[in-house]
């Protein structure tokens, strides 16, 4: 039988009701014995009265434990059935998944003392859902509002002849596009601190992204490669976030790699994923701050805003994992993520 937990209302009610009932039952039995003794005594035959009482205990005493058990079962049943609607509501509350904002607690059949409490919780859930929805709509709107003029700018610049100035402006527009991407990603992360996690194959996710990014990496003068054991690596994760994090690591690695070198994405058996480059590597003294938002290396020649690795760190922490950077044997940086 399930034991009610310490401090629960159910345990308190069962203990108290059982105590009261036990007392009543004990008193009842004692009274019966005394009563029957008195009746026998009234016959003016002391010896017979003692015998009568002893016989009563012997013949009816064994029923006492059965009465006790029956009584306790009745108490437990009564308490549980009257609290079942509360238990159901708390099971509903426990089952609310991260990122799920459309669930409300059932308020039908609840005791009147508890109903206002559940209604208040539902009200709070309404307000939270509203807040999430507003944030989500804001990031979606911002994405559209920011990207449309950028798309016009990009297309317009492409239509111009290739002068030195135009080429430079195209690079600026591309940089702006990347910054907008990252800011939207940060906004989405902030709006959804506990996103929905699904079962996914890390191997498949990484292989798919490598395939999509390889032509771009080639255009940047590097090569992209993928290594894995081949077997699926199943994790609980958010595909959109993980893909964004991995994309950032690959873009960084390519940005720091010498022309013609290879950037390798490696998926390990225990939900580890590493992006390995052969660039200058990361000095020891910078590794602590590397994942901070808006932090840039003092000698950074690139044009990032210092958001990429902060996004990676946030995504990894959502997945209960860790991120670290180590040296690539033979020179370069290896960014490793361990998820869950």
């Amino acid at each position: 039988m399930r034991m009610p937990s310490v401090g629960s209302l159910e345990r308190q009610l069962i203990l108290r009701l059982a105590g009261v009932n036990l007392l009543a039952l004990g008193t009842g039995f004692a009274w019966l014995i005394v009563k029957s003794y008195r009746i026998a005594h009234g016959l003016n035959h002391d010896g017979l009265a003692d015998l009568f009482a002893a016989e009563f205990l012997e013949e009816a005493g064994w029923t006492f434990p059965f009465f006790v058990i029956g009584m306790i079962a009745l108490v437990v049943f009564t308490v549980r059935s009257s609290l079942s609607s509360v238990a159901a509501a708390s099971r509903q509350a426990v089952a609310i998944a991260p990122g799920q904002t459309d669930v409300r607690l059932e308020d039908e059949g609840l005791p009147t003392e508890i109903k206002p409490f559940v209604l208040a919780v539902n009200g709070a859930l309404d307000r939270l859902a509203h807040g999430f929805e507003a944030q989500r709509r804001f990031t979606a709107d911002a994405a559209h509002e920011l990207r449309t003029p950028l798309a016009i700018l990009t297309a317009g610049l492409e239509a111009l002849p290739d002068t030195r100035e135009v080429v430079a402006l195209r690079a600026d527009a591309a940089r702006m596009g990347r910054l907008v991407d990252q800011l939207l990603r940060v906004a989405r992360l902030d709006a959804m601190p506990a996103p929905a996690l699904d079962k996914l194959d890390l191997n498949e996710l990484a292989a798919d992204l490598v395939a999509r990014m390889a032509p771009w990496v080639h255009g940047e003068g590097c090569m992209l490669a993928f290594e894995s054991t081949g077997a699926p690596v199943m994790i609980e994760g958010n595909a959109d976030m993980l893909e964004g994090a991995l994309r950032n690591l690959i873009e960084n690695a390519v940005g720091h790699s010498p022309t013609g070198s290879e950037v390798t994405v490696r998926v390990g058996r225990d939900a580890e994923i590493a992006v390995i480059d052969h660039g200058p590597g990361v000095p020891l003294e910078q590794r602590d701050r590397l994942f901070d938002r808006f932090w840039r290396a003092p000698d950074a020649m690139g044009n990032g805003a210092g958001l990429g690795l902060a996004i990676v760190a946030a995504v990894v922490s959502v997945h209960g994992g860790t991120a670290e950077v180590v040296d690539t044997p033979g020179g370069g940086a290896t960014f490793g993520l361990r998820l869950g």
Partner: protein, 226 residues
């Protein structure tokens, strides 16, 4: 080739139209769901470029209207929404490809060309990259009119790479297409074919080259294309 561009942002529509016309397409433009639905019912377009956010509704409505009257109409979706869920829902709704704003117009053109190269869609089409052309009916690849005389399997690999020009074709897909189920595949069969192809393309001066993505597969890229 006649294309329909559905985009409500006037400047983007204008710039996309200019570059598509420069690439040799005939282009019609619509700015609303209603106009676009009417247009796809009237004109047998070869492909459609579809923006998702339209003033009078969702671009996905145009997609389902188009699917009702035309079973095979390649659709390239344009959108400012870039989450994995958005991409998946667009592709589930029947779009063939997906491009997030801002995009390079070169990328747009090459994606449309890739869609028009899909098997089953354009039967008897000639696939081209650089100076290489492949006649999918005559089963012959040539560079500048000079036939390369490729063996059957190399030709099949080249056709797949050409159909997805500039995009990665996984090695497993090539193995699936080239060999039947249960057929024994030597582990280095595909790499050997690729290395022969690579040498032949280079010798003929094909103006395109096969790149390897170690651990994934291969892609074909035109010389000079970034």
């Amino acid at each position: 080739m006649r294309l329909l561009v559905v985009e409500d942002e006037r400047r983007i529509a204008e710039l996309v139209t200019i570059s598509l016309k420069a690439a040799g397409f005939t282009v019609d433009c619509c700015a609303s769901v209603a106009d676009a639905c009417a247009a796809v019912e009237l004109v047998p377009y070869d492909a459609m470029v579809l923006d998702l956010g339209l003033p009078d509704g969702d671009g996905l409505e145009v997609l389902s209207a188009a699917r009702r009257c035309r079973e095979v109409l390649p659709v390239l979706m344009l959108t400012a929404r870039d989450t994995v869920e958005d991409r998946v829902s667009g592709l589930d709704a029947g779009a063939d490809d997906y491009l997030v704003k801002p995009f390079a117009t070169q990328e747009l053109i090459s994606r449309i060309k890739a869609l028009l190269r899909r098997p089953g869609l354009a039967l008897g089409v000639t696939l081209e990259a650089g100076d290489l052309s492949l006649d999918t009916v005559g089963r012959e690849a040539s560079v500048g009119g000079q036939p390369l005389g490729l063996p059957r399997q190399e030709l099949a690999i080249l056709e797949h790479l050409l159909r997805r020009l500039g995009r990665v074709v996984p090695r497993a897909v090539l193995e699936d297409k080239l060999y039947g189920h249960g057929e024994e595949i030597a582990s280095n069969a595909i790499p050997v074919h690729i290395s022969h192809l690579r040498r032949k393309l280079a010798e003929a001066g094909a103006g395109c080259a096969i790149q390897t993505v170690r651990g994934i597969g291969y892609f074909l890229i035109e010389a000079g294309a970034a």
